[in-house]
Symmetry: C2
Subunit: 115 residues, 2 copies
DNA sequence: CAAACTACTTGACAATGCAAAGTAGTTGTG
DNA sequence: CACAACTACTTTGCATTGTCAAGTAGTTTG
């Protein structure tokens, strides 16, 4: 079973949600999401998402030093981003409920028609 | 807000779920899904999904007369399809829970840091 | 034949995630 | 300095999938 398609779009919202909790940077977001259950997430997937969110004006970005390695790009959510996030959560909830409703309706009906 | 990306992959599972409830055909599946909350779903989206499911061996197909219009393609789920559907539901539930967890963690934390 | 409805098909397109590789700063070993 | 390991961000090429727009075709009504 391939999760890839199920992440489409959801990932963007989740990245935005992580940033909304406080200024953070790519590598940290990556580990938060992996810990949160997005096991197979890799840099090549995450960073383009950040670029897109920035282009849309949903997050702001500044360079900052790291105590450990190279400089980091710190991201924070914009007012537009917060609006978008709220709308996203609402929308995602609707889609998920529609899907879960269809996926969970008992399929026993069919079986009982045979008996 | 554009739902398009959120449908990726989910739609396939939902179509399979509808078929699993009993033999049916494209136009009917379309109306079931639209009634179920997938408002913007159109033929050009649904039929390719059916073709894919068939190619994967998850559904079987037979031609049958219609009491109204042209012949219909009736679909029914295969044993493989049922296995796939069960795995899909489990998987979708996991991804959804991970996403909802991240999306719903209170973002009040940030606000309270300001006050 | 024409119009309206049912039903399925197809081609061009855009968005997004993934794999794989690359660029670069920092720290530690020798 | 040379080399490796770790942190951190970037880029290229690709596959999958939903949408738009248009097309094909059977049935009924006039």
């Amino acid at each position: 079973m391939d999760d890839t398609q199920l992440l489409k779009g959801v990932l963007e919202g989740c990245v935005l949600a992580v940033i909304s909790k406080g200024e953070t940077y790519g590598y940290e977001i990556l580990s938060v999401l992996i810990d949160g259950g997005f096991d197979n997430l890799i840099e090549g997937t995450l960073y383009p998402v950040l670029t897109r969110l920035q282009k849309k004006g949903l997050i702001a970005c500044r360079m900052g030093k790291s105590p450990l390695g190279p400089s980091r790009k710190y991201f924070s959510i914009t007012p537009e981003g917060e609006q978008y996030l709220a709308a996203f959560v609402e929308n995602y909830t609707k889609v998920t409920q529609a899907a879960m409703h269809i996926l969970s309706e008992d399929r026993e009906k069919k079986a009982s028609e045979n008996g």
